[in-house]
């Protein structure tokens, strides 16, 4: 019933929608022209300072009230102690911090052997090699201790995020009101730039590992909630009925029917939790979390490219290992043994892992190098690599290319584009965005766009917000120029599609921070480096979804096109791309989200956007300002997210795609 009314309205809409969008566009253009002619009054170009409300101040007042008067600070500081205790224990086990239980650190050989066995159990020799190899590399390159600092936080954050996410997911699935309450918060949380997580964490949970762990945990919770709810909703009706007919009570249903049936989605959630935790824990270097991130930050700060590169490799290897292992766990099915299989045979892998662990632990008491690779014993080639990279960059043609790119892109393209965007009067810009939302999605999205960008204007950070937006748009446009042709080419053959998808999948697991390394290497600390790092980061989802979209075009449609005598090009333009467009749009959306995320991180290189302001707030206690800035970024990202996702969903329905 509701569906019929819906399709009726959306059928009647397009004419109005298009005309309305066009007229909005016309008004925006008119305003801009008047501005260029110098006739626009100043207050219409930019909101005057006087009318900008002091959001930051208000937020500060609220925070202070909650923090001090309501005693939240006391509460969180108490929590801190518990968390600190956990972190200390895990720190002791992983890298021998002198705290209870005082048994650590595990020797690197023992841990490596145990992890390799787990890898073998989950995914055979290749995974064993990857897992073992990663740890051996980490140890040999002399980064064992900092890597373990990072891992020790993961060991606490991941289970915490899992438990909290799972419980909230179950609650949201069970009670509609929880779902309604959580959903908008989740979509904002997922678009909030990570800097926004960091400051509150610092204020409420002290600087250092505790705050880092809290920020990491919170950052990783949303996907766990979503995956849990999704998995529980997807349990087939018949399985549920079978459970009921078996006489399950409510708790038995959850414990024996729902949760095990949702195993796959829940484990996918675990995979995402692990990957997000890793991405975030590296970034918490900004608030003084020791570990790989901090080291990378320090090395990049002092332009030691060789060492940065080595740390980058470690992070990437760690990410790929964790990703592959948790994904292997998702598809790992229980295997059955014939009756009467002895205990040792059933638990062969467990016994092997424990045996190796004990063996190497004992060995390392006798042979010190098996316990720890000391200073000067490692094989780091940092300085040599550094020289090599710098020599490479000094080669004439490389220098000429990067120099040309820098000069050409900056002077001819980027700066004019930025100045143009800055020259558009605020109301015109908001109308522009509204027209975009209206044309693609609908009235509701257009209204959201006006409200969201209206807030950004009121926040007083308009110019910086526009610069942020400029970086995002410029990078995504360039990413599309590179990514789309690549993807279309790759999608022509099955072999290349698979290869390309593998590359994208792998690249997506890299913590965003490492994307800065090549950018800085090639372009130094410049605007181009920022755009470049965003571009690389955003190209990945674009390629991925484009290939996915092209590949999932139903074969009977392409066959029909072939039989109609379409050439390759005709088939591509008339059949494949139109059908792949909704999926490609999702890729675009993700590229934009990623770009918003990266542009904030790139602030580290030194930009003039919101990210830099955000980073500045970390130094102090400007909680209010930090939030206002974070929300500005989130709202801009949300506008695009709402619009594009709505468009993709509409289009999919219209095309009758699943």
């Amino acid at each position: 019933m509701s569906e019929t009314t819906h399709s009726l309205t959306s059928n009647a809409m397009p004419v109005n929608k298009g005309q309305a969008a066009l007229s909005l566009l016309a008004v925006a253009a008119l305003l801009t022209v008047i501005q260029y002619l110098g006739l626009l009054p100043e207050w219409l170009h930019r909101l005057p300072e006087a009318v900008i409300p002091n959001f930051a101040g208000w937020l500060d007042a609220i925070f202070n009230f909650v923090k001090d008067d309501m005693g939240l600070l006391v509460f969180t500081r108490t929590l801190t102690e518990g968390l600190e205790w956990l972190l200390d224990a895990s720190a002791n086990i992983f890298f021998g911090k002198r705290r209870w239980p005082n048994i650590g650190p595990m020797s690197w050989t023992a841990l490596t052997a145990a992890v390799a066995v787990v890898g073998y159990y989950l995914g055979g020799w290749r995974l064993a090699l990857l897992a073992g190899g990663t740890l051996v590399w980490t140890a040999l390159i002399g980064q064992w201790k900092i890597a373990m600092q990072t891992v020790s936080v993961l060991a606490i954050s991941v289970p915490l995020a899992f438990v909290i996410g799972l419980s909230l997911g179950i609650a949201a699935w069970k009670y509609a009101w929880v779902d309604r309450a959580i959903r908008p918060i989740l979509s904002v949380l997922q678009t909030l730039p990570f800097f926004t997580y960091l400051l509150p964490a610092v204020i409420f949970f002290k600087v250092g590992p505790t705050a880092g762990a809290v920020a990491t945990t919170i950052y990783a919770i949303p996907p766990m909630i979503l995956m849990t709810t999704l998995g529980l909703q997807k349990v087939s009706e018949e399985v549920v009925e079978a459970g009921k007919m078996s006489g399950c009570s409510k708790f038995q249903m959850l414990r024996h029917v729902y949760l095990p049936s949702a195993r796959t989605e829940i484990l996918v959630g675990v995979n995402q939790v692990i990957m997000l935790c890793l991405a975030m824990v590296v970034l918490t270097a900004f608030i003084g979390m020791p570990g790989l991130g901090a080291k990378l930050l320090a090395m990049m700060g002092s332009f030691k490219l060789g060492r940065s590169f080595e740390i980058g490799v470690t992070i990437v290897l760690l990410a790929v290992t964790l990703d592959r292992m948790s994904k292997a766990w998702v598809v790992k099915q229980p295997e059955h043994f014939e009756r009467g299989t002895p205990f040792w045979k059933r638990h062969r892998m467990l016994l092997l892992g424990v045996a190796l662990f004990v063996f190497f632990s004992l060995l390392s008491r006798v042979v010190p190098i098996a316990a720890e690779i000391g200073r000067g014993q490692d094989l780091s080639q940092g300085r040599e690599l550094d020289d090599l990279i710098k020599a490479f960059l000094n080669i004439e043609w490389v220098k000429a290319t990067t120099g040309f790119l820098r000069a050409f892109l900056n002077v001819q393209v980027l700066i004019p584009f930025r100045n143009f965007m800055l020259s558009i009067p605020t109301p015109a810009f908001i109308l522009l965005i509204a027209a975009f939302a209206l044309a693609l999605a609908g009235r509701k999205q257009a209204i959201y766009a006006v409200i969201f960008f209206g807030f950004v204007a009121l926040s007083g950070w308009w110019d910086r917000a526009i610069i942020t937006l400029y970086s995002v748009i410029a990078a995504v446009a360039l990413a599309a120029l590179i990514g789309l042709p690549t993807a279309i080419l790759a999608a022509r053959s099955e072999k290349w599609s698979v290869r390309m998808l593998l590359v994208c999948d792998t690249a997506q697991t890299f913590p965003s921070f490492v994307y800065l390394i090549p950018a800085i290497m090639l372009f130094g600390i410049t605007d181009i480096a920022v755009i470049f790092s965003i571009l690389v980061f955003a190209t990945v989802p674009l390629i991925r979804y484009t290939i996915e979209g092209l590949r999932t075009v139903p074969p009977e449609m392409t066959e029909a096109a072939d039989m109609s005598g379409a050439t390759r090009m005709q088939k591509l333009w008339n059949v494949q791309i139109p059908l792949a467009l909704p999926t490609m749009a999702i890729g675009f959306n993700q590229a934009i989200m990623f770009a918003f995320f990266m542009v904030i991180i790139a602030a580290f290189i030194g930009t003039q956007d919101l990210g830099q302001e955000l980073q500045r707030t970390l130094a102090g206690t400007d909680l209010g300002k930090n939030f206002v800035l974070g929300i500005c970024v989130a709202l801009m990202a949300l506008t695009f997210d709402l619009t594009i996702m709505k468009w993709a969903a509409d289009k999919k329905r219209a095309l009758g795609l699943p």
């Binding site: 079978a242 459970g243 078996s246 099915q333 009756r339």
Partner: protein, 340 residues
């Protein structure tokens, strides 16, 4: 409860889907058609159904998809709460049962088999079969023993430790059947149990099912959209359309006297000779001559005799007592089709 009380008795049962089904049903004028209800934004899943299931009988509910047959059977077990009317199981109004007693009823009296099997993917065959026993808190040893027994009964011996994904469709449904039988239910619901299977396997499973039924003699509600299957298995068939029961009777009476146009269309292509028994054709008062035929014999089974014989009226006997006689011409009409 006396012996002839129906096992399940439902009276004027309504199940309406929509925003406020209860309110809508109360305000609805009697005789509103399915399409009118639909136009008001509601779906009548079950529309004023009154039907009884007797002890030991197999009632087959037949209808096309969307006719409400699955909904009806889910009302019997209260997987769906009904909107109006009453359903009593062994004399007890199930809508008035509190949750605890409902669970108890399902744990002790009801078993159900599902179209797509509804097996728990993380449990082995044996664990799936033992699941209802586990839920009612039986200890590990007894439930294992009982589960082994049923697994053997459905012919899956040696596969106890397999996971569902390692089995073929037919084998998976055997697990589903075993699970539904584990608690020794009195009432057995089967919701299109063989529809997801290949035709050959389906035939095999139907035979298997008939064998089980002969052994266990349960009260069965069997759902199917396959009329041949219904004819093959049923004591009685209820034909449903748009949530309402069009006709409920024995297979031969349905074939001979379709109550509505819709039922007639269904029975049109059926080979009546294979369905109709001598018992139905027998006229109670009439007398025949010579050797009697058995009431259970189908017209097709008697074909050679009917063609070669010359008697006008042939006596029919049931359990060795004469119940009347059938006219040879009427039987031949069924075999060859009416002249002209």
């Amino acid at each position: 409860m006396s012996a002839d009380t129906p096992v399940i008795s439902c009276k004027n049962v309504w199940k309406i889907f929509g925003k406020d089904p209860k309110g809508y049903l109360e305000s609805m004028s009697p005789g509103t058609s399915y399409d009118e209800i639909r136009a008001d934004g509601y779906i009548a899943g079950v529309k004023d159904v009154s039907i009884d299931v007797h002890k030991g009988e197999m009632l087959v509910i037949m209808g096309l998809s969307g006719s409400g047959k699955s909904t009806l059977v889910r009302c019997f077990s209260r997987l769906h709460d009904i909107t109006g009317g009453t359903i009593s199981v062994e004399g007890q109004d199930i809508m008035s049962l509190p949750e605890k007693e409902l669970i108890e009823l399902r744990r002790s009296k009801m078993g159900m088999v599902f179209q797509s099997f509804g097996l728990l993917p993380h449990r082995t065959v044996l664990q799936n079969v033992a699941f209802p026993l586990e839920m009612r808190g039986q200890d590990r040893h007894t439930r294992r023993e009982r589960a082994m027994e049923v697994v053997k009964l459905v012919g899956l011996e040696g596969r106890e430790d397999y996971f569902p994904r390692e089995l073929s469709g037919g084998q998976q449904q055997r697990v589903g059947i075993a699970r539904s039988l584990a608690i020794e239910p009195d009432i057995w619901f089967l919701d299109e149990p063989f529809s997801a299977l290949d035709p050959l396997i389906r035939k095999e499973m139907q035979d298997e099912f008939l064998r089980l039924q002969q052994m266990l003699n349960k009260s069965i509600v069997f759902i199917t959209h396959d009329f041949d299957e219904a004819l093959r298995l049923a004591d009685r068939i209820a034909i449903m359309k748009d949530g309402a029961v069009e006709q409920c009777d024995t297979p031969d009476r349905i074939v001979l006297n379709p109550a509505t146009e819709y039922v007639r269309k269904f029975t049109e292509d059926v080979d009546k000779a294979r369905v109709v028994h001598a018992g139905v054709l027998a006229q109670a008062g009439a007398k025949g001559e010579g050797e009697p035929v058995d009431a259970k014999a189908t017209v097709q089974g008697m074909a050679r005799m009917l063609v070669n014989d010359s008697r006008e009226m042939i006596p029919v006997q049931k359990n060795n007592t004469l119940i009347g006689a059938m006219s040879r011409k009427a039987a031949l009409d069924i075999l060859l089709g009416t002249e002209g």
